[in-house]
Point group: C2
Chain length 343, copies 2
């Protein structure tokens, strides 16, 4: 089969790789119907050294089950499934608590394993990992189903762990696919005011359609001043940080209301957090983390199927496998917000 392989920064190739086969009785093989490129894929695309081992790419996909191991009972050949971005057994204590990203038998896509940017994927722990979409759904929903694999569930994780609820004011930092999904999630959870910080108008326009009540295009001190002004000097109860860079986190601390919560879902590209005596005196909480998408898909899937939410609108370009390398370039150049891949 064919799949995307990253060799080093800026060098993604479509190559012929071994067809996946059932290795464990708990495995399934899924034919990818739609995958995509993630904002986090852009980190190695910007920085991977040539000396590193080439890696398979893609951790988001939906598709059709083609084969199952002897112990798989929850999914069957022919099922259309959503794969969250981490595999999990569904039975360990962390999985039962809804923290499947810490599963005691979890696995990641890509690297030495199959990735979602390819024809097929061997799925470990298929029963725990995959969520079956009821047959007969509208094929036009595929982008939104795919969004549940990562970005929408990640935005939802931000909003849930941030404690978004009716009456809460929320700022979302970042107008990427996760930031926009966080806006949609905050709206879903009843936030009355949602300030979106982003400077790409096509994206912030979509953010307004998703529920943003205010858009702040300024960054840094100017952005902080603008949010402070919009909130009467107090900041917002919740800040959802969907960037992962230190300046975004610094902004979050500056615009969160006393007693408020910063939930971060942008993978941190920093090690130290500026959270000493000042944030302590103000009783600020820092939460969030990598999203256990598997925990949220059962909640979000019905909302996609009945049209309540349309998170797939974050995809603004579709390519086939041969188009993947240019898809990386387009996302890196911010020419595309998020690229959907149909092998």
């Amino acid at each position: 089969m064919r799949a995307a392989v990253m060799h080093h920064a800026g060098d993604v190739r479509i190559e012929t790789v071994p067809d996946p086969v059932i290795q464990q009785p708990t495995d399934a093989v899924v034919r990818v119907v739609a995958g995509c490129i993630c904002g986090s894929d852009l980190w190695p695309y910007a920085s991977m050294a040539a000396s590193e081992t080439a890696r398979r790419m893609g951790h988001e996909f939906v598709g059709v089950v083609e084969e199952t191991g002897a112990e798989v009972s929850g999914v069957a050949v022919g099922d259309f499934v959503i794969a969250p971005f981490v595999a999990s057994d569904g039975t360990c204590d962390f999985c039962r608590e809804g923290l499947q990203t810490s599963c005691r038998h979890g696995a990641h896509w890509g690297g030495a394993n199959d990735g979602g940017q390819g024809d097929r994927v061997r799925v470990p722990q298929a029963d725990g990992t995959l969520v079956v979409v009821p047959a007969g759904f509208d094929q036009a929903l595929i982008p939104s189903l795919l969004a549940l694999s990562d970005v929408m569930s990640t935005g939802y994780h931000a909003a849930v762990t941030g404690g978004v609820a009716p009456g809460k004011s929320v700022t979302v930092i970042g107008d990427g696919a996760v930031g926009l999904s966080a806006v949609l999630s905050a709206k879903l959870l009843g936030a009355e005011r949602i300030i979106l910080m982003g400077r790409h108008q096509a994206r912030t326009d979509l953010g307004r359609e998703f529920g943003a009540t205010d858009v702040v295009a300024e960054r840094g001190d100017d952005g902080i001043a603008r949010v402070t002004e919009l909130t009467g000097g107090d900041g917002t109860h919740v800040v959802l940080e969907a960037v992962g860079l230190k300046p975004a986190l610094e902004t979050a601390f500056a615009i969160v209301r006393d007693g408020g919560v910063i939930s971060r879902v942008g993978a941190p590209q920093y090690s130290g957090v500026p959270f000493g005596f000042g944030g302590f005196l103000r009783n600020v909480t820092l939460t969030g983390g990598v999203a256990p998408a598997r925990a949220y898909i059962p909640t979000l899937l019905p909302l996609v199927l009945d049209g309540t939410i349309e998170p797939g609108r974050v995809f603004d370009r579709t390519v086939d496998l041969d188009g993947v390398p240019d898809g990386y370039r387009a996302m890196a150049d911010r020419e595309a917000l998020k690229v959907l891949v149909r092998p």
Copy 2:
């Protein structure tokens, strides 16, 4: 009247200062029946420069109302009251939310204001600030009533914001008065397992009486290894950090279970928190902060009055005002855990 004044590190004196008078119609004057020395008083005692302005000391006290301003209606002359360690109006949005430490008209004791280590205190916002103890209580309860002013409420804040509940495992870092209060609070909130990290046996013995199920005397990597071993490699659901130094916080991150919560109530003596990609992947939450004691006193006071809790046991020495300078020395030398002052 007489009161404690700190001039610089190691130099606390008892001096004659102006008698407090009603300045605002919302003020009261309270005669101090019992005050105390706080662990946080030891920071300036260790580091205050001679060039700094001398400051009045003490932010914890209980006493009797001697005079009230024209607009004070909630407390009356003769009432025995508990003063939380921050004054608050009781009516602003933060106060109504239970975050009186962020009160829009709050004030602190000590510095240029009266402090609890003295004969009398002018209390701003008396109606919002003071909590009246019903008349007729047993005078032997005074140390426990005094503990509600700060340490017990601070330990309780740690446990509440840390989400301690039945079924949760908890580690408390620090065997000072706040750490021991955190143990007592975790027990009160139903924690089944409470690991106390501390190396002063008289203190950890009291910690066991307060509810600690395990004591870990080791620090640093050895302490981390021991807690890890005690928890089957997982760490505890909640870590209550009652020290305020960076190594304690580093330990907290190392021993918190995936998806767990670190609640810190030790005033941070650091600016950067080591909370990057690792803690993000593990979905760790960092919360806590300066405790709104005023919010918790109504909950804890009945438990003191009916003997359910006896937080005053953290006081292991009593002095009069003239004994305050030596009380600082004794606490700094770890000869005393916490010194109660009876003017």
